[in-house]
Each structure stands twice: as C-alpha cells, then as structure tokens.
C-alpha cells in the first residue's frame, strides 16, 4: 500500500489557482542561486561533488604509493612516501568519508523521506557547507606548504615541531578544526529535523531505516566531534607555543594525546559506517520488494552502536602502555559493539528470503556490501582479541581491516545509494550494462587489493613502511595490481554517470517501486519537495508485491 499518490506538476497558489512546478534545478537559475541556496537538495549535490573530488584526489595519491610499493625499495623516497600516505588518510577521512553519505545523500533525502520541505535550519545547512569548504581550503594550503608527514593520526611528540617545521601542522590542524564544525552543525540540523519535522502520521516506528541511521550518526557527530575540535586545537597550540600538554619534553604525556584523539576518532568510524548501514536497509528491501526483516532490531541497533561506540576507543591503544585493566575493559566493550552489527547483517540476509529480487546495480552493490563488509567486520574480531592484537596492531592486517569496513563498507554502500537514488536526484537513468561492468571491476579490484594485505600483516609487514623486506614483494605486487583495477572501475563509474547525466533517458518518479516518501515526488523533486503535505498511515516497507494472503504465511 503506498502512502501517498503522486500529484504531477500541479500545486495550489495562495489564491488556490493552479501553478505548474518545475524541478528544483530549473526553479532557480544562475550560479548565485546555487551559492546562496538554502535548498537541502542543492546543498546535498554540492557536498556530493565536493566530497567526490576529495575521494578521487586522495585515491590518486593511493595509486601513486601503491605503484611505489610494487618494489621493496622506494623510488619516491621515504619523505615523499610519508607525505603521500599522510595526505591520503587525512583527505579520505576528513574531506570525504565523514561527510560523504550524511552531507550528500543525507541532506538530499532526509527531508524527502520525512515528508518535510527542508531541514530544520536551512541557512545553518548552507553555513555548514561553507565551513566545510573553508576547512578544505585551509587543508589544501597545508598540503601546498608541504612537509606534512605525521600520518592522519598526528601522534605526539612527532607531530609537535619547532619553528617553521610547525607551520604545515598548524595549518592542517586548523583545517581539521574548522571542518569539524561542519559535521557538528549538520548533526544538530538532522537531530532537530527528525524530532520535529516528520510528516503527520510518521511515528518513529514508521521512519525509514536510512533516517534512523542518520539520526544515530548525528548523535555521534554532535557528541564526539567537539572533542576532536579540542584535541586538534590543543595540538595546534602545542605547535604554536609549546604548552607541553602532550610533549614529554615539558612534562606532558603522548599517550594522553592518543586518548583524546581516539575518543573522537573511534566514534568517527561509526559516523562513517552507520549511514551506509541505513542505505543497505533501503536498497535491500526495495530491490527484493520485501519488508525489511527485523525493523526494530535494526533501528535500535543503530542507537546501541552509537552509544557503545563512545566506550571502545582504547582498542586502538592495546600496546600503548595503558593498564591491563583498561585494555580488558576496552576489549570487552569492543566485542559488545560487534553484536548489534551482526544482528543487522543477519537481518539483511533474512530480508532476501522469499523476496522478489532484481539483479540491478543497487542490488549488486548491496550484495557486494554484504560480502566485503562481513569480511571487514569479522577481521575486527581478530583485532579486538587482546593477545592476537598484540601481534596484528600497526601491521597491514589493520590496514586491510579498515579498508574492508570503510571502503568495502561505506564506499560500496555509497555506490549502492548513488545508483538507487540516481534517478530521483538527477531525473535521468544510468545504463544498467555500464553499471554492471563497474560492479565487477570494483568487486574484483577491491578484493584483490586488500585481501592479500591480511596475510602481509600477520606475516610481519608493518604499516607506513616505504621500504620492506623483499619476502613480502609478491603480495604487494598483487595488491597494487588490484588497486589499479579498482581505480579503473571507479573512474568507469564516474564516466558513465556523467554520461547518463548528459545523455541518459528521463527517469520516472518511481523506477524501483519504492514506498518511502521520496518516491512519491517527481524525479527530480520540485523545490519544496511535495505539492501537499504527505499523510503517512503505514511504514515505508509495505510493497504492493507482498503477498499477505494466509496461504503464503510460513514460519521459519
């Protein structure tokens, strides 16, 4: 049962005359209408372009040093290698992966899925975007000034420098500080929007799971990012005037920096993945035409993950010299946070059971996600076990694990979401044949790149090494070849999507038969999203294909 029938193109003016409405791209024209927009959809598109630029930029850096890693000696030289991996990490984390799904897809779809006209604070939304841009410009400045080689984790005392050596660090930490506020303000906006602007009839239990995911993410953004702000501010001040808080030369403690840093950066990884989980809940149900399995469990597990994520930061520090008691506590809680994630994964697989499954790009990416994210999640268990982590910490095993969850998780989910919502966002359809090639290239390229890195790590290859023992070369060569295939696949996806934007066929309002509110608008939506405020009388997974006759009920 759909909740709202689509009204096409007609709305009522204040004097109740009929007014034709164009989509939000054509409602206003000119560059100023974009730069000064308060339309959440335009802001979402701007974030999408910006974050993808960061993704491709940082990706190219990775391909450069993956090429270098094909030989045991470093052609780039250690200094250049160290700068490249630092920039790759910093740009990927701060410029791309933290904002990408929430600020791009979240901004676009949160109000639509809630049946609202915009977010609670549209001007604050635009400000968030410009803060993000400002932070990016500052970071780019740091890159140009050069010599940033601390790793994106900025561990002290190596990241506390004297004199002119401190300049790139001061600029970079300043850029991160500024960018953090973009994340915080987006979080504030989303929390208030979810609480106050749901369409009539949309109870919490009738919200799409993508919204639950964004809500849980927003809680983390709001509570964790301020601590990052203080951490980088303190590091910045350390570099300007050597206060001594983190510098043992003056009585400070480098492990204190790690506690400060990871108190944000662990919840941050859940900022990265929770929205991805939300997308998967949407795509897996829409493309199997089946009600999501375990709605309440998935919704509540997002909140549980958000809460527990604040309690596990010490698992990045098992070998740092922290006490055994602390280590035990963090290890235990780390396993606790794994349980809600497992519940989600099982629920997604169960959603496929007796569904009507379309093998299209969104579904193929969803299936890929299940494959790669599960590997990422399972390998986290090795790292949460204290004794095993002693060996694996700071090795390539960790690098493989986090790429499996961040890229095999978030990026694959982002790709699923981009394909799923491409028609709605752009009013065009991409070509399925093109898309399938992309899936294959990405799947193969990604797994070849990162699967070998697990063995590299457990066999003794340390992270952040420009040069290595020749015994590791074979795995590195395989990994690098995989990375080039992955890069090609991602470029291919960019290419056919741009082609579809320009030459693709017009997309219908609801190509997949979705039931959540964004599908009850035209493609692309009008500026104010809905002609009439939607009234919701059911949850967003009641597809017409569901067979509710008694004969088809079975218990398993």
């Amino acid at each position: 049962m759909t909740t709202v029938t689509l009204e096409k193109g007609i709305s009522h003016g204040s004097d109740h005359t009929h007014v034709e409405e164009v989509d939000f791209y054509r409602a206003k024209r000119g560059i100023w209408s974009w730069l000064a927009t308060v339309d959440h959809k335009r802001i979402g598109i701007m974030y999408l372009v910006g974050t993808l630029l960061g993704f491709f930029g940082a990706g190219v850096l990775a391909l450069i040093f993956r090429a270098d890693l094909m030989t045991p000696n470093s052609e780039l030289g250690r200094d250049m290698y160290n700068k490249l991996f630092t920039l790759h990490g910093a740009i990927m984390v701060f410029v791309f992966i933290i904002p990408a799904i929430p600020a791009a897809l979240g901004n676009f779809f949160l109000p639509l899925m809630l049946g609202a006209k915009d977010v609670a604070f549209p001007r604050l939304n635009l400000l968030s975007f410009y803060i993000w841009v400002a932070g990016l410009i500052i970071l780019l400045f740091a890159i140009i000034v050069g010599n940033l080689d601390t790793g994106w984790t900025f561990y002290t005392p190596y990241s506390i420098k004297d004199g002119s050596n401190a300049t790139p660090l001061i600029i970079a930490t300043g850029g991160v500080f500024v960018m953090g506020f973009s994340s915080i303000l987006t979080g504030v906006n989303f929390i208030v929007t979810v609480h106050k602007m749901r369409a009539p009839g949309m109870t919490w239990n009738r919200m799409p799971l993508f919204i639950w995911a964004l809500y849980a993410t927003a809680i983390i953004q709001v509570l964790a990012t301020p601590v990052l702000a203080i951490t980088v501010l303190l590091l910045l001040i350390e570099n300007v005037m050597q206060i001594g808080i983190f510098n043992p030369a003056w009585g400070g403690d480098p492990v204190l920096f790690q506690h400060f840093f990871w108190f944000y950066s662990h919840p941050a990884v859940y900022i990265m993945i929770l929205p991805g989980f939300g997308i998967i809940s949407e795509t897996i149900s829409v493309h199997s035409k089946k009600h999501i399995f375990g709605y309440k469990a998935i919704a509540l597990s997002s909140v549980a993950i958000a809460i527990i994520s604040f309690l596990v930061w010490g698992h990045h520090m098992f070998v740092s010299g922290q006490s055994e008691f602390a280590a035990a506590l963090f290890s235990f809680l780390t396993f606790a946070v794994a349980v809600p994630t497992a519940i989600k994964t099982f629920s997604w697989v169960a959603t496929l059971y007796k569904g009507v499954i379309t093998w299209n790009a969104p579904m193929l990416y969803t299936l890929t996600f299940l494959f790669t994210f599960t590997i990422g999640g399972l390998t986290g268990i090795f790292l949460g076990a204290l004794s095993v982590d002693i060996h694996l910490h700071d090795s390539y095993f960790v690098v493989a694990h986090f790429h499996y969850v961040m890229m095999g998780g978030t990026v694959i989910a982002l790709l699923a979401g981009l394909h799923h919502w491409f028609p709605k966002m752009f009013g065009k359809m991409y070509n399925e044949g093109h898309a399938r090639i992309g899936v294959i290239l990405v799947f193969v390229g990604f797994n070849v790149t990162f699967l070998t890195q697990f063995m590299l790590g457990s066999q003794g290859m340390a992270r952040r090494y420009a040069e290595y023992d020749p015994v590791f070369q074979t795995y590195h060569v395989i990994s690098s070849i995989g990375s080039f295939v992955l890069g090609a696949g991602l470029l291919w996806i960019l290419a056919y999507m741009v082609w579809a934007l320009m030459k693709g066929p017009k997309a219908p309002a609801n190509p997949w038969g979705g039931v959540s509110l964004e599908w009850a608008t035209q493609s692309p939506p009008i500026e104010h999203n809905f002609h009439k405020t939607p009234h919701v009388d059911t949850d967003p997974y009641n597809f017409p294909e569901i067979d509710r006759s008694a004969a088809s009920n079975s218990h398993h």
Partner: protein
C-alpha cells in the same frame, strides 16, 4: 586443556609448521606465539564458517528468489523472535569466549618470573640499542649500505626475558613477529613485557609505530641460541662490550646516538638526511648565519644546539639535540671520530 592442545597442534599444522612459516604466520618462536596462533586459528575457523554460511544464504536467496514471471510476490515475513534471539545470543556467547581467551593469554606478557633475563631497549630515531644490565653489555645498531640500521639481539632459548623500554625522542614500537610480541616505546616512562623464546633461529624485529623518515629502516635481528651457544657465542666473548679503549668504540658511539641514521661517514653513502661527514672537518661551511668553520666548537654546538647555524640546504631537517644526554667524554670521542673521517 586438551581442547587447547588440539587447536594448538592444528594451528601449528595450518599456520606454521615446526619447520618454519605457515600461510598466515611466521615461525612459532615463543610461548606466547603458540597461544596467539591458537586463538587466531579459532577466530579464523569461526569466521570462515560464518562467512561461508552467510554468503551461502545470501547467494542462494539472491539466486532462488530472483524476480521472474513465476516469482512476483514476496513473503510478508518481517520478523521472527526465535531466530533473532538465537542470532544475537550465539554471537554474544562466542565473542565472550574469544574475549576471555584473549585476555587470559594477554596477561602472560606481564608475568615476570624471578629468573627472567633483564634486557633494556632504547629506541631513537632511527635505531635500537639493546643492553643487558646484569651482563654489562650494550648492543648498538650498525648501519648497512642501504642506510638502514640493524641491531643484533642475542637470546638463549627457553629462558624468559623481560624488556624494559624507553625512547630518546618520539614514539616507537618494538615488534618481533616470530614471538608475536609488540609494545610501544615511550619517551616519558618505561614500558615492557616478558616472553620466552621457544625455538632457536634468526628472526626479524621491526619498529611498528611511525616515527618519521627512518621508520622502515630501524630494524633488528633476533638470534635465539641454545644455552650452550649463548654461553659460547655471547657471554664468553667481547660481543657488545662498550670498552672505551676498544678500537671500534668511537664508531659504536656514533651508532649508539643514532648519528649514523642521518650522517653518512663514507663518500659512497651520500646524503642520508643530514650532511655526509666524510672529509668535512676543517671545511668552511655555508650556513644560514654565514660561513662557519667546521671545528671542534662547531661540532660540539651542533650536537648540543643543532638549531643554531644550519648548513645551507639542510634547514628543515630538524636534527635532535643531545644536550643533557651526552657526557663530556662521549662528546670528545665523537669529535675525535669525525676528525678521523678522511
């Protein structure tokens, strides 16, 4: 206990045979390594099992319930309490077991028996120094032709040793993969662990906390010897004895302070990070404060106040200061050594 032995034996077979490396892990060369590999194997088996199960169902459902003319209606099932309970409870139980097992083995590293061999480890950018306080030995790193530092670390098999570690500058981390042990090395306090090597052989040792330019180049070679060999080849020799009268005292001092990580002493080493010192004594250097003669005073000042008078082209290289951690005797020896480089 029998379960543990079984898994341990199985893991040895799969992960690393008694002869050497396995698919996943290097040799099992310590008591701790055996335990780590057993738990690793347990987690691996469980992971592979659940992964195949999950992917099996996923693949099967995706194929079997593909849309088709005969499959156009989906099931209304959207929850099942029994199933959801089971798939929450079973992982919880398994994870608690894994946690407890990991924690129990982890505590092995902090149990130091009275007869453990005491080893002091000092890390700096970019080399290791390993000393044995009770044996009055200090093994410093030597620099190879590739500019990398390597320290030889001698140990007797089947005897526990305890490391007490500190850093002279930034964070480093001490990792012996064959032993499966690792611990960060801090500048403001001691860290350490205890472990027993159980297999003779030669094993690599790495720095595993990013520490700058030479992070991948500060390594070690662990030599685990039989008790007889340890006595013969280490205790009864002059290995690692830092005797000021010995002819190699000065080059060893040069290595101990890490000077060789940045300064080449032979022309073929070229520029590593800082100026090559071969034939440099007596030269007039062009610096940021004008021309400076490289004499005893300039060398002393560079060691204690490296930020003054930087040779052109090396301005951003951040040589650390040794003020307060080098004695007059050592300073004099180093100056002498640099003089002799020609």
């Amino acid at each position: 206990m029998t379960g543990f032995s079984f898994i341990s034996a199985a893991s040895s077979a799969f992960l690393a045979d008694s002869g050497g490396k396995g698919f996943w892990m290097p040799e099992v060369a310590s008591d701790f390594a055996e335990h780590v590999d057993a738990l690793f194997m347990f987690i691996l088996v469980l992971s592979v099992f659940f992964f195949i199960l999950l992917m099996g169902f996923t693949g099967y459902f995706a194929w079997k319930y593909k849309e088709s003319p005969t499959n156009t209606r989906s099931s209304p099932i959207s929850h099942n309490f029994k199933l959801e309970f089971l798939w929450s409870a079973i992982p919880t139980v398994l994870l608690v077991v894994i946690f407890a097992w990991g924690f129990r083995d982890f505590t092995m590293l902090s149990t130091a028996p009275a007869d453990a061999l005491e080893v002091r480890v000092v890390a700096q950018q970019w080399n290791w120094t390993i000393s044995y306080p009770k044996l009055d030995r200090e093994c410093t790193s030597t620099v190879g032709t590739d500019g990398g530092a390597n320290v030889d670390f001698y140990l007797p098999v089947n005897r526990p040793f305890t490391v007490q570690m500190s850093s002279n500058d930034v964070l480093h981390s001490f990792w012996i993969p064959a032993f499966r042990v690792k611990r960060d090395v801090l500048p403001n306090r001691y860290t350490g662990f205890t472990v027993t090597p159980t297999r003779t052989g030669i094993y690599p040792m790495f720095c595993s906390e990013y520490c700058g330019n030479g992070h991948s180049k500060m390594q070690g070679t662990v030599h685990v010897l039989s008790p007889e060999d340890f006595q013969k080849k280490f205790i009864d020799t002059d290995l690692c004895k830092l005797d000021p009268k010995a002819p190699d005292y000065k080059p060893k001092l040069f290595a101990k302070f890490g000077c060789n990580s940045c300064h080449g002493v032979k022309p073929e080493q070229g520029i590593i990070v800082g100026p090559n010192l071969y034939g440099r004594y007596g030269n007039v250097e062009s610096t940021n404060v004008g021309p400076v003669k490289m004499d005893d005073d300039y060398i002393r000042e560079s060691i204690e106040y490296p930020e003054k008078k930087l040779v052109d082209g090396f301005a951003g290289k951040a040589m650390p200061s040794f003020r307060g951690r080098i004695t007059e005797v050592q300073l004099a020896a180093l100056i002498d050594y640099i003089k002799s480089l020609k």
